[in-house]
């Protein structure tokens, strides 16, 4: 009996949370597909329109921006996965002088917000001539203290006996990393990849400051054209542009939903 009550309570909480999360999204879908005057006016037979999307699409070179964003996040993600894995592996598997100190240095970096470093980073990029390039946007993010921390903690949970067994079989350091540690950390890689992609997909101020040409700018810069505070906000246009720029992430989530959830569950149980 109490089991049934529990289930009902859980379901209710889940529905409420889903509604809280979903309503803004539903609202943006509503406004994006209707003319501006229905943006706070919910009439069932309001005429549907796609003109918000065409208008938004034409306000900035979005096709180019999408390509740039994809190049940017792939570059950052690949570099992050490789560099963070290697650093975390070294911290876990090797005992070396200053290891604790070095790891705390990495941790300190977590405390510094990237915005503070904008001027310094700009100066560095401008000295080496990389302002206004995609690699310039990516450079400060190629490695990540968070990624190192996350992977180090995961690698620490790998039983020592597995490592030793592999050594007995004659596997070298690279092979152990590749066949023992990396497969066991898969859920963490997936979770980290998700966080990293959504962070860089949304990053705005740094790319805006460090780039000048549409050829290298990401979608967020295109999206910001609609945040026209001075002359009131046209929600239908803003939301059409927002849906358009977030659509790839949402679609990717829907497609890979099963894997995401399964992996998070597994990571959580551990």
């Amino acid at each position: 009996m109490s089991d049934g009550l529990n289930r009902i309570a859980f379901a209710t909480v889940a529905f409420v949370l889903a509604a809280v999360w979903g309503l803004p999204f539903l609202y943006s879908v509503w406004t994006a597909f209707h003319p501006e005057k229905y943006s706070a006016n919910f009439v069932w037979n309001a005429p549907l329109t796609l003109s918000n999307f065409t208008e938004a699409w034409q306000a900035a070179p979005f096709a180019l921006y999408f390509l740039n964003t994809v190049i940017l996040i792939v570059t950052v993600l690949v570099a992050n996965l490789i560099l963070c894995t290697l650093v975390a592996y070294a911290f876990v598997r090797y005992r070396f002088r200053w290891a604790g100190f070095l790891f705390s240095l990495v941790m300190v970096q977590l405390l510094i917000s990237p915005e503070i470093l904008i001027v310094e980073n700009y100066l560095t990029l401008s000295t080496i001539g990389l302002t206004d390039t995609i690699i310039g946007i990516a450079l400060p993010y190629l490695t990540s203290a968070f990624g190192i921390f996350l992977l180090r903690q995961t690698f620490l949970t790998v039983p020592k006996s597995l490592d030793e067994a592999a050594q007995m079989e004659g596997a070298g350091a690279w092979r152990i990393l590749w066949t023992v540690y990396v497969p066991l950390a898969r859920p963490v890689y997936l979770a980290y990849g998700l966080v990293s992609i959504s962070f860089h997909w949304n990053n705005f101020l740094w790319p805006l400051i460090v780039t000048n040409s549409p050829e290298v700018r990401p979608v967020t810069v295109g999206l910001s054209v609609f945040a026209t505070v001075e002359s009131g906000i046209e929600w239908s246009l803003v939301n059409a542009a927002t849906l358009m720029t977030t659509a790839p992430l949402i679609i990717a989530f829907l497609i890979f939903q099963r894997q995401f959830v399964a992996n998070f569950m597994r990571a959580g149980i551990k």
Binding site: E36, K37, S39, A40, N41, E55, A59, A60, I118, V119, Y122, L123, S126, T131, L205, L208, I209, N212, S213, V221, S224, V225, F226, A227, T228, V229, E230, S231, G232, I233, E234, W235, L237
Partner: protein, 428 residues
Amino acid sequence: MNARMRTALPLVMSAAIACSASMAQAADLEFYFPVGVNAPAVATIEQLTNAWAAQNPQHSVKAVYAGNYEETTTKALTAAQAGDPPQVAVLLAIDIFTLIEEDVILPISDIATSDADKAWIDSFYDGFMVDTMFDGKVYSIPFQRSTPVFYYNKDAFRAAGLDPEVTPATWDEMVEMGKKLTVKDSNGNVTQWGTRIPNLGLAGAWLFGGLVKSKGDGLSTDTGTEARFNTEAAKASLEFLQRLADEEVMAPGGITWGDTPKAFLEGQAASIWTSTGNLAFINENAEFDWGVGFLPGGDGPGAPVGGGNFYIFKDITDEERDAALDFVRFMTTPENQAIWSMATGYIAPSQAAWETPEMQAYSERLPQALVALEQMPHAYREFATFQRARVTQYLVDAIEGVITGGTDAATALAEAQEKADEVLGEYR
């Protein structure tokens, strides 16, 4: 001098001469601009910069969209600090003190020295030139300037038994007419407020400057070192805002800027105080008869001015500087001011622009556009000091504290004054 050098020298010299000959005129400009109004502004900026480049084939100019005002300033300052400044940028007029303190801009009056240049600088309305000056020099050129006006729903005025051609001139009239304009349903809920004055954030502080002006005072002066918060005028202005809420003329509590035009279009407010930058948007979307008037004032009319100006940066070559000046002059010819003003709703900042046939036709089509111009003599500079962001925040906190927290106006303003004096003291 050995033989090799003797043969090399003429070569090097001729190369240097050829190089300097081709460099004599050419400049590659970077021009940072913000967008504060709807998206077509980007297309118009590009159209204008391309026209300049076509007229000056030896130069090139790259128009760089740089976000909103704040982001554009951040971007320009970051680039300037890294020794890589844009040659030209449109930034807030009130950022003048920040830019001077960071030592990144050139006084335009120092480089625009010919008689034609001086006539050009003199061609702008005085109301827009006040905040371009510091220490007797002109540092910027007005470009995208705006001022708030009183938009009202004539149908709502008729329904309330008011003359739809007469707007409230004083605060008392505003309260009196506003009471008639506030409409409640049978349950006692308000369905239409008499008026709507945004009072939150920087926009709230901006409009507040207009209230203070109408009481014959100003929040800041042209020295950049003085904030005048704890004054009778400021106190009266804050009390007026409270009174509007107390007498049910305006919704109580905080009122946002961004949703104000929409509240007007949807009939939730019979009148609104907002920027001329909304003229085009309201004209396109209003389904009722609407008009524009002066902002109601305390002792007389009063309004703030706001918006962005052209700045020319330091640490650029002489060629770039000359080209940048020419570019700014081009962007502010009467014809181009007219194009920009009609595309965006900003007020063209010179008399000559209003006399172009295009603007004449425009103001006939949309006579509401002229009201802002007529209000200009009563407008005063927007709040600006050194450390503007910090000092303005004290004012914002004071206004919001009174509006939403019920703090006493005199206490809140005295506190803001004290904090502002502490910051500005070291600049005096």
